[in-house]
């Protein structure tokens, strides 16, 4: 009788501990927030967290995951112009829907790109679209109508270099706006849309407008 009671009590305790651990260690875990005192956001995109140049995360549990860095939780002011710089270090994967090769929703309807061409020569210019097959990622905030394709780094670009993409867009009223990548860039997952694509802090993010 005592043994059965002890077994039941132990099981209950184990379930409680497991539940608390699940909630505390997993469900409530969120990446840090990038709180810009100004209206500028600076991000880095990498093929693998472990290969990050600007914001390394050596203790990340998924060092081989593709990611935006340093975080994907961004807090910005409402009804403001947000200036974005993305240092794009990943190679091209290509868009599943070529339509997202076009820039939507930015000020002027374009973006400014410093990149390396096929021969590895530095180039620079304003673009309204890119070749969809050369996209590495996109920065998309659908509820704000913002879709920006990010040109993949050329194979002949110098080691450790990045394409620098800058653009501006305007926020609306307060709210939480998801942002995402439309390139199936999560290697090794179903249709390239699993893992980091479905995890906050990697390729899934929130734009907290307040």
């Amino acid at each position: 009788m005592l043994g059965r009671l002890a077994f039941v009590a132990g099981s209950v305790v184990a379930v409680i501990v497991a539940t608390v651990a699940l909630v505390g260690l997993f469900m409530l875990q969120r990446p840090g927030t990038l709180e810009g005192p100004s209206t500028s956001i600076h991000l880095e995109t990498v093929a693998a967290v472990g290969a990050a140049i600007e914001w390394p995360r050596p203790n990340d549990p998924h060092l081989d995951w593709v990611s935006y860095l340093p975080t994907t939780i961004l807090r910005v002011p409402a009804n403001s112009t947000i200036n974005v710089q993305i240092d794009q270090e990943d190679g091209a994967t290509g868009l599943r829907n070529p339509f997202w090769g076009k820039v939507f929703g930015t000020d002027g309807g374009n973006m400014h790109v410093k990149y390396f061409d096929d021969k590895g020569n530095p180039q620079e210019g304003d673009m309204t679209s890119i070749d969809p097959t050369l996209a590495a990622h996109t920065f998309a905030v659908p509820d704000l109508g913002v879709f920006v394709p990010l040109l993949g780094i050329s194979d002949n670009a110098p080691a450790g270099s990045a394409n620098i993409i800058t653009f501006s867009f305007k926020t609306k009223g307060p709210g939480v706006y998801r942002w995402q990548c439309f390139v199936p860039c999560a290697a090794g997952t179903v249709f390239g849309n699993g893992g980091p694509m479905q995890t906050l802090g990697y390729m899934a993010g929130e734009l907290i407008v307040s």
Binding site: N97, T128, T189, M197
Partner: protein, 290 residues
Amino acid sequence: MFRLEGQDRVHAGRLAVIWVILSVIGIVAALQIHYPPYDNSVQGADQSKTMALMTVLAVPIFIGVVLMLVYSAIFFRRRGLELVDGPPMLGNTPVQVAWIGISAVVVLFLAVVGITTLASSSAAQAVGAAGRAIGQSGETGSSTAGGQGPELQVQVVAQQWYFTYRYADYGGVETTHLYLPLNRPVELHVTSLDIIHSFWAYQLGVKADANPGVDNVFHVTPDKLGGFQVRCAELCGIWHGHMADSDGRVVSQSDFDAWIAQQQKDEADIQKALPSYAPYYFPEPLTKGS
């Protein structure tokens, strides 16, 4: 012969009167409800009317069941401390016949309504009076995509986690919002570029599975100007709850013509990179760097 006598007759009469009064009140009340998905399209109006019919038929049955429970609880409750069995009840053929008969009539009536509606939809399609049918087969490769029929051809392209739209009759131009002209039958071709989604234009009464490699054909005829919401109705990943767009619009034909012309102009640079309009597309690239 089944006969009610004495107090039973009083109870039955009282129940019948209350049931009739409450049912009439309930039916009148039910007819005042504006049933979803409302009447922003021919198909939506059909669905609303069907909902109203179902409710009107269900009200007397619901009231009858609840009334019997409440009435029994009031008049046939145990009044003392002593537990006493009620009188034994054996099979009652007239009651059973009435029960089965009424149920059969209700069910058969609804079946006839459904079959008639479906038959009339098919007939409408067959003679080119498009826009009445709710949905057709979604067989792989069965599309009439790009055809210049009487209906406006619009392809709904689902992807994690957004819907885009291609207008076959306008060079396959792709857009981020769904605009439809008023009173013009529309043939929606719903497909997906990755996993299973569900296209739900709630106010238009359209809900269609979006499957990769499948052309799911639906018809809708918007008959009211205004906005409508589109959202995904199939759990599809982290941003499923955000896979929505509140900027769907039903506009006049002239406004639609101006809008689609603007879309063609604005997106000329990316248009040439789009694949040829097809009934469906397979996920490509499959994964990173492929």
